[in-house]
């Protein structure tokens, strides 16, 4: 027990939410931020579009409109009190980021520039409103950098490249976490009064994802093993156009400029699925359509991808067929230069990763796993709540993608993820410090590291019959196919069966690296264990929910069912089994109605 550290507050994860929590907690309490990556490597940095707030820097906008748009986007599964809270906080949150030095783009008047985004509307006219504050197309990168810099300025204690393995509970209260220092392989005990989890999502359980390798759901899995439930895990957002195999996003803007989707037979297939808006249908509809084409063998060369075509001649041809016109009524046309000017980043990605020039060639794309709507249940102050009655677990907080407040409900609106992590990261940090300042340290038992140690020992002492890499590849493939965009009872039952098999096979995995220093093989194997646990919960929850809503689309239950399913799912892991409970959705102002855009 040489490596024991004592802090009032320990923040696990150093992405946007973790850094925000660390920054706020450190102002009121002795705080440590533990991260398995250097903070600047966190996946917040990959976010592009913007962060929404009704600043009204170009035109009239109101937090109420922002709230309604978010509720509607969530397919009415979001908790409206939390959504209202977030949208009201949004303006101050974005202004605070500016005061911290974040280099937002500017309007000609010198104010923060904003751009329109899907689902952001003026509620009175129904027209798009410019609500997403942005810094070029690197808003997430700027938020991450700014928060990290402010943490350095405020001398926050960082433990970089420490992987948290276990959450300590003593007398039903938070007592700290156990982490392994990657550089030495030594276990460290962080004795704390309050702990904030901000560990991100779990998109890596799917084969094709826009998420980082680090997105393995560690935080959620660690808490799940300690009896904390997870909420709404069946809801996962798939983005229709990711670069083939890599999953890197290609923005909806490509289709906005007239790009069309083409299958392996050279046909434009979207009219079959969305006769009116065709290629510009909503994300879930397009994702489902692409996936159907692939499953029915009409992927390109029999592979699991289709083409996105934004070559000017194709755009002009199909625009003419659709009767698309410019504002003045002339037929819609576009030139290669205009494509290049409007979509510089996408073109750069395609050139680097595909060697494809979108102006002269078609882009191979497929739907990509993008965002975890569910997670560790919390209230709007980031306090983790562990049952149907929203009972707060003393000293435990969560924020960011790993948490489920729930403000995103069944489907997240673009730009709300960055807002989520800034607002709830801040409150989680504040509340954690507040709690720590009136609580006492719980006395740690002597064998505090044993649970964490035994997890590693199991991996070190496996029989070695199984290859972790194969297991993980198989899991990702099955999860993407059976618990992905389209879900059916048969497929999910098969997947759950498989998950049980993998979990058994996982016991046979052996880590060949016996070393302690940067044993990334051991770490990856441990992460695989987390992913298997999370995958199981995702599949069980998805099988359980017999309706289609937002990101959860069932072939056997294609409609939304408010009568039976307007409720949150809670999932516990008890005795090796997933147990499911429910929690009501908070509805204040906006009664559920059909969702049409």
């Amino acid at each position: 027990m040489n490596n024991v550290h004592q802090f009032d507050v320990v923040v696990v994860g150093a992405g946007g939410a973790g850094l925000m929590a660390g920054l706020y907690a450190s102002r009121g309490a002795k705080t440590a931020v533990i991260s398995k990556l250097y903070p600047t490597r966190s996946h917040t940095g990959a976010a592009q579009g913007g962060i929404s707030a009704a600043l009204g820097n170009y035109e009239e906008d109101k937090p109420e409109w922002h709230s309604y748009d978010t509720v509607k986007g969530s397919d009415y599964l979001g908790d409206q009190d939390a959504i209202e809270f977030m949208c009201n906080e949004a303006i101050d949150a974005v202004l605070e980021l500016e005061h911290m030095g974040l280099p937002f783009d500017r309007t000609p008047q010198g104010k923060i520039s904003q751009r329109p985004f899907g689902g952001h509307t003026n509620n009175e006219t129904g027209k798009p409103v410019r609500r997403a504050a942005h810094a070029a197309d690197r808003t997430g990168h700027m938020i991450l950098q700014t928060l990290y810099q402010q943490c350095l300025k405020n001398k926050v204690n960082f433990f970089d490249e420490y992987q948290v393995l276990d959450f300590l509970i003593v007398n039903g209260k938070t007592a700290g976490v156990i982490a392994v220092e990657l550089a030495t392989g030594e276990l460290h005990t962080f004795h704390a009064k309050s702990v904030v989890f901000a560990t991100g999502g779990h998109g890596r359980i799917f084969e094709v994802t826009s998420n980082a390798y680090a997105y393995t759901g560690d935080g959620a899995a660690v808490l799940l093993r300690r009896g904390i439930p997870l909420e709404d895990m069946e809801f996962f957002q798939f983005h229709p156009t990711g670069i083939y195999k890599l999953g890197i996003l290609i923005t909806e803007g490509v289709r906005g400029e007239g790009g069309i989707l083409i299958n392996g037979l050279g046909e434009r297939f979207m009219p079959k699925y969305a006769p009116t808006v065709k290629d510009l249908a909503s994300r879930d509809v397009v994702s489902r359509a692409i996936y159907t084409e692939i499953r029915e063998g009409r992927g390109v060369n029999g592979q699991n991808y289709v083409y996105l075509d934004v070559r000017p001649e194709s755009v002009i041809k199909y625009a003419a067929m659709d009767g698309r016109t410019n504002l003045d009524g002339t037929p819609y046309t576009i030139t290669g230069e205009q494509v290049l000017a409007k979509l510089p980043d996408i073109i750069d990605f395609c050139r680097v990763y595909l060697g494809v020039d979108p102006i002269t060639q078609m882009m191979p794309i497929q739907p990509t796993a993008h965002y975890t709507m569910g997670g560790i249940p919390t209230n709007k102050f980031g306090e983790v709540v562990i049952d149907e009655n929203n009972t707060v677990f003393p000293g435990l907080y969560a924020a960011g993608e790993c948490a489920c407040v729930s403000v995103h409900g069944a489907n997240r609106l673009g730009t709300n993820s960055l807002l989520d992590l800034v607002v709830f990261g801040k409150y989680a940090g504040l509340k954690a410090a507040e709690y720590a300042n009136q609580a006492e340290f719980e006395t740690l038992p002597s064998d505090v590291e044993s649970a964490a140690r035994s997890q590693f020992d199991a991996l070190r002492n496996g029989s070695g019959k199984e290859n972790a890499f194969d297991l993980s590849t198989e899991m990702k493939k099955v999860m993407f196919e059976e618990v992905g965009i389209y879900r059916s009872e048969k497929g999910m039952k098969a997947a759950i069966q498989k998950i049980q098999e993998w979990k058994a096979r996982y016991q046979q995995v052996k880590v060949s690296d016996a070393g302690r220093i940067f044993n990334t093989e051991l770490l990856n194997a441990w992460e695989l264990g987390n992913m298997l646990d999370i995958a199981e919960v995702v599949a069980e929850c998805a099988l359980n929910r017999k309706e289609s809503r937002g990101g959860h689309s069932r072939e056997d239950f294609p409609n939304r069912d408010d009568h039976n399913w307007l409720k949150h799912t809670l999932a516990w892991k008890k005795n090796g089994k997933v147990e499911i409970g429910y929690k009501p959705v908070v509805i204040t102002k906006h009664k559920p109605k059909e969702r049409v855009y």
Partner: protein, 236 residues
Amino acid sequence: MQVTLKIFRYNPEVDTTFHYESYVIENAQETDRVLDLLEHVKGYNDGTLSFRRSCAHGVCGSDALRINGRNMLACKALVRDVGEKITIEPLLGLKVVKDLIVDMEPFFDNYKKVLPWFINDSPLPADGRERLQSPEQRARFDDTTKCIMCAACTTSCPSFWASDDYLGPAALVAAHRFVFDSRDEAAAERMEIVSETSGLARCHTAFNCTMACPREIQITKAIGELKMATITGRVE
């Protein structure tokens, strides 16, 4: 296609020095990232191979490596561009901890020296709104806000090879980002730091940093602007 990887290996718990190990990958694609190949080797050839990675598409900066003798991100280097024989080595000028993993602490320490955070102690606008900044003032430092701190620049710099006392391109880029921000008030403090003997004067415009930058930041130019600022005092 067949690709041969020659990878720098060093296990501190077993080896006294480094060696190179070759791995042949049979069904590689032209569009595979070098990172994909490393993952393949780790999955099937030798699980002990250690390297850092996270986002895998060039925005997190974890996997800066020396590939065929030149610094780049393994996730932005494709087989198509680097060829069928690929030599992969850790970054130069930082201690190798294990295989391709180097000790990043000196790099981050240098970064922290230039006060890489926004400083403005003047009162906020009375209405609590944003500090105003024109689009031109914002554009002035746009290039240097792109940095992801992957260290590809600093570890390609001959001056940094000579001594890690040199702040290095990445730290100077961070200084530039704030010095030329019209809202920031600590330009003078930063100029004093970067003009010390271990700062600007160690840049000899060898240009390796700019060539290595995966974000295509004009690093040499940013450093050049800081140098001229020490002479003219103009930081806008």
